[in-house]
């Protein structure tokens, strides 16, 4: 996996973790099971460190999408975008495009071929 993809996936995982810790339903559920979720600040700090490693243009694209979608970046399975289930064009899978971070023409999510 390209480092750029890896960093964005790590960022999204972290954002989901932060969201769950803040989310009323999930955090209530986790607390009721006995988990303490008092390190939110630590997660925010980990996020700050992580975003410094991501190229600004890509980070900006991610941040814009993350305002609308929980999953701003997704892997491609088959020939579909797993975010909107739109069919991807054949050019998406060409040798020159395979390693690149691509965009779904339908919903704009960032996509990568795992």
């Amino acid at each position: 996996m390209k480092e750029e993809h890896r960093l964005l996936i790590a960022l999204q995982d972290l954002d989901i973790m932060i969201k769950e810790a803040k989310d009323q339903y999930t955090s209530k559920e986790l607390k009721s099971l006995g988990f303490k979720l008092n390190g939110l600040e630590e997660l925010q700090n980990a996020r700050k460190k992580l975003i410094k490693k991501i190229p600004p243009d890509i980070l900006q694209r991610y941040e814009r999408l993350a305002k609308h979608y929980t999953m701003a970046i997704l892997p491609v399975t088959g020939d579909l975008c797993l975010g909107c289930f739109g069919k991807l064009p054949t050019s998406f899978f060409s040798a020159t495009s395979r390693d690149k971070l691509q965009t779904c023409e339908n919903c704009g999510r960032l996509l990568y071929i795992p």
Binding site: I9, D13, M17, A21, T26, L33, F35, K36
Partner: protein, 155 residues
Amino acid sequence: MDSSKLVSFFEEDLCIFHLRSRKKKSAISEMVRHLARHGRISDEQFIIEMLKNRESLGSTGLGKGVAFPHGRSLAIRKLTVLFARSSSGVEFNALDRKPTKILFLILAPSDKGAETYLALLSELISLIQKPTKLKKLYRVKDFKSLREILGGNEK
């Protein structure tokens, strides 16, 4: 969730009955390395970092000698559970500060809902509330016995 469903999440290959590590960080690495060796994950460091972040939110060592390190990631394609037992105990920064002897590592895909992994966590936490089962878990040495504990009806 019925007991047969619970048992179905466990695989013999994904059990460590003699965890060597004594510290949290190395125990997490040992378990993740085991998953990588059995082809369940491809990027060990990535998963270790994710679990480290989860632990910084709050220790998953819930006390009574049991911990539930867990996390969700796009790098995980299928709900995966690893069972580990340590006879000497791991310093896991548990809520009761006691050494952790039983670890259930749960990894779930982040592009699926949180419901299944929360239900699984809930089921396992209910299980360790049963003193007979917990005592047996502390001593479990093979997969057959683990299945019996997970699937049995003792209180």
